[in-house]
Symmetry: D2
Subunit: 277 residues, 4 copies
């Protein structure tokens, strides 16, 4: 059910990380190894910061592996911060407005996971969205709704606190409806300067999430790999599942944990604890 990746570091051509790594995200769209589904072919999206105001976004309902435009764009867009996502729908329609990343102002949001029994909770969750934001909801996914609830809960001021409030709110509502395992999530968020990544699920068995190790250690480990030799200390990659050509390069983000990456590459992990309403 979806795979994603995020880059925060030196400006690179998107294709360097999207297409060229062995078992990169495009390969994962066909052959995911750690995902709930092998195939992530129900659309995809790329959101990037660079030239122009706010993030650029390209979304399509075709499988990422076969999209000729994505290949062209990835080879001609350079960015110091981008997120990409390949989708496997859990039931909602296959349409561009249901493809990640979702954007709002300067913000991008990707999600791998689900709200359990979403069909039953959808209405009540929508009512909790700030009325001033409500009419901007364009698609029909649980993921987009999580984004709008997080915006309602202050994402733009304190992203992690807003996500903790949002997920706590969903868990409390699910609880009232007798629904177990309310939220399953790995989430990526950015405002164009910072990057946040969260791994959390109500049942404590979350989708996988990994961050790249220090460039220095990686270069020593793989002196023969030119891609790694170009890495700088402030480069950071976050992925649903590791690229195959970087063994030893990944730290698994623990359960119920949030990663923050700041400009300059400073990064820190801290516990992620949903707050009930």
């Amino acid at each position: 059910m979806c795979r994603w990746m995020a880059w925060h570091g030196q400006p690179v051509l998107v294709e360097e990380l999207l297409f060229k790594p062995e078992h990169g995200l495009i390969d994962q769209s066909l052959h995911s190894r750690m995902g709930a589904e092998t195939t992530n072919g129900d659309g995809f999206g790329l959101g990037w910061y660079g030239t122009g105001e706010g993030p650029g976004v390209y979304r399509s309902i075709e499988p990422a592996w076969g999209d000729a435009n994505l290949r062209h764009l990835a080879g001609h867009i350079e960015s110091p911060l981008f997120l990409a996502h390949v989708r496997a729908t859990s039931g909602t329609a296959i349409q561009e407005t249901n493809c990640h990343p979702y954007d709002h102002g300067r913000w991008l949001f990707v999600h791998n996971g689900l709200i359990n029994e979403f069909h039953e909770l959808r209405r009540e969750l929508m009512l909790a969205v700030d009325p001033a934001l409500f009419a901007d909801i364009q698609g029909s996914t649980d993921s987009e709704l999580l984004f709008y609830l997080a915006l309602t809960n202050g994402l733009e001021e304190d992203p992690l606190a807003a996500l903790e409030r949002t997920i706590g709110f969903v868990e409390a509502m699910a609880d009232r409806h007798g629904i177990e395992h309310a939220v399953q999530a790995s989430i990526g968020v950015s405002d164009g300067e910072r990057l946040w990544a969260v791994r959390y699920s109500t049942e404590g068995r979350s989708r996988t999430l990994f961050a790249s190790a220090d460039a220095h250690a990686l270069k020593q480990l793989h002196p023969e790999n030119p891609r790694l030799q170009r890495l700088r200390d402030d480069d950071r990659l976050v992925v649903s599942e590791p690229f195959a050509d970087l063994p030893g390069a990944w730290h698994e983000i623990p359960e119920a944990t949030a990663l923050t990456v700041l400009p300059g590459g400073t990064h820190e992990l801290r516990p992620f604890r949903p707050l009930a309403g």
Copy 2:
């Protein structure tokens, strides 16, 4: 802003009415003469009754004039009752879930027009949808919401009364928000046996709507037209704007009026009067 047609009568190949008439609906998708927009190229849909349970539906976001599949389907689907719609968006996304006809159980629904200042009213209108129906809303249009409000208001028991309640409700809400000209509408509805068509707008200047005249009169008027000579007394066609090859064949449906067509071709006009909530 959209054009549509509906057929109720003897079983015909869809192409007979969709593609073959001069200035038929496909031509209107490129060159509408009476619509608010000349071009209706933001997707289309065909809903028909025939083989299989409930209505079949084919929707696409490509312009109707160029869709190779539509041409094929129209040449191979026969139906005694179908509705077709070409769309010109008033701002909501171009995606299949925003294409008419909308379907629910045995029901089909098409709409030409709009809810004024929909962005402002959307949330409140959605709250008025029956919670048991809410999660089935798939798209983001004002038209689909009108359909779900009508279902909430008893469309399946008394379609015209439900539409009068629905439009009255929207007008009352718009009034509270200081919004003028709340609803602009020509609407087609069917349950597979009967067909209803409504022409109404708050400002009293509604989109055009026409019904075909009696077969008998038409045959006398155009003894040379083979298409007309095949018409039977119980055949009825409703269109946003007349097909060019049937001069004299059309009765304009008056302002604030509803047409009902019953099995056997019985039909009647009656006033359409929205009821405030």
Copy 3:
């Protein structure tokens, strides 16, 4: 690299065979077990005979598993003879004109396999197409070209002989270019009355192909299966790989063999021997 199925028998709703069987073609589009590729998500097509002149065709570049229109059409189109195909491209563009079945007049054609080193042979093969047919070639696949070469070689008079000449011609040309394993193919062809299925490859290791067993034997084998109990003696199903819910129901079509199914269900196997030029 592609999976297909064909039905020749009593009129059925397409969904009965396309969606309802366990591990049917739609499931094979996601999880093929015997194909060269697990995923067949690069478009699909359905061609059927029934109402209207010649075959109806619906093709799309979206994966078959997620296409809302296909689900609707399959539930509302009834046919005594249809072919369906899910595609995994071997390199040519993902576009409707590259989706099977290809149609010409009353004829439908599906192919699973490839012409080896097609890029090198394409021009010479195209030159061999009847100039009167040439301009009707719409796509860019090796499969469509096989179809047009077979039409050139008399497909409409004697399909199996035409296919033997066509494949023999391709093999001879590949030989001149020093290309091994020229053709890999399972092919389905119909004119709306008869159905032909061929299993052949130059190297003698062809893609799998199966035909359903006699209805009588099947009913005795699975008295509990209502789908099978509805089978009639003249019903025949041909598939790239067996549906899971019909164990014992399938006869593998041997290497280098052609199956012919005639109206009334008469069927026969005979060797398939390409004829050099």
Copy 4:
């Protein structure tokens, strides 16, 4: 039948010229005033030079006016040289491989017009393509074939001479077939440094084509227009029909004439005279 534009000058966000001008290309996709067709909704394409190797290309079969991705890309891609095209098909399939600009190596090519009776000439024209290039032809349009014939005739060495040879060749072939008015064309070509624009038709009544006037004159003419005040002497815009907000800004390129724009903005007109084969 198609509209296009090309920019050669200072780096600009694509949206500045594609979306912001009154009656710019996107508006022309809906409401062309000078084209053979009012609507150009059968797909579009954007090709640009900038970051990355060779040109980037984005093509889609949806109408340009409604494509959310195009709007995003235009707002986030900056380029000193780009071509955009909106398509109205003269019969060939609506698919991405039929959308302009076509690309080959560093080269981009757009065309407005047609080869008359293309269906009859297609095979013979394809045979004239360099066999080494043949297999790269991906679509089925007359325009792509003109591009490949021009490549065959030396486009990469001397573009205008190659186009003269190509069109002369087509005219001679049409003549042999008794086909009048062989070629109708406005053509844009670039290698990423230079831009060529040709206006020519066999019958001497070519599609319109305009180039922008000197920046200096324009600034004096419209001191109140901030877009114009940003223009530099070396900026040059070529368009099928003028943008409405720049009256006096355009020079019509005469019949049978070719424009060359060099780096630095040097530009010159010269006669365009097809050479018979």
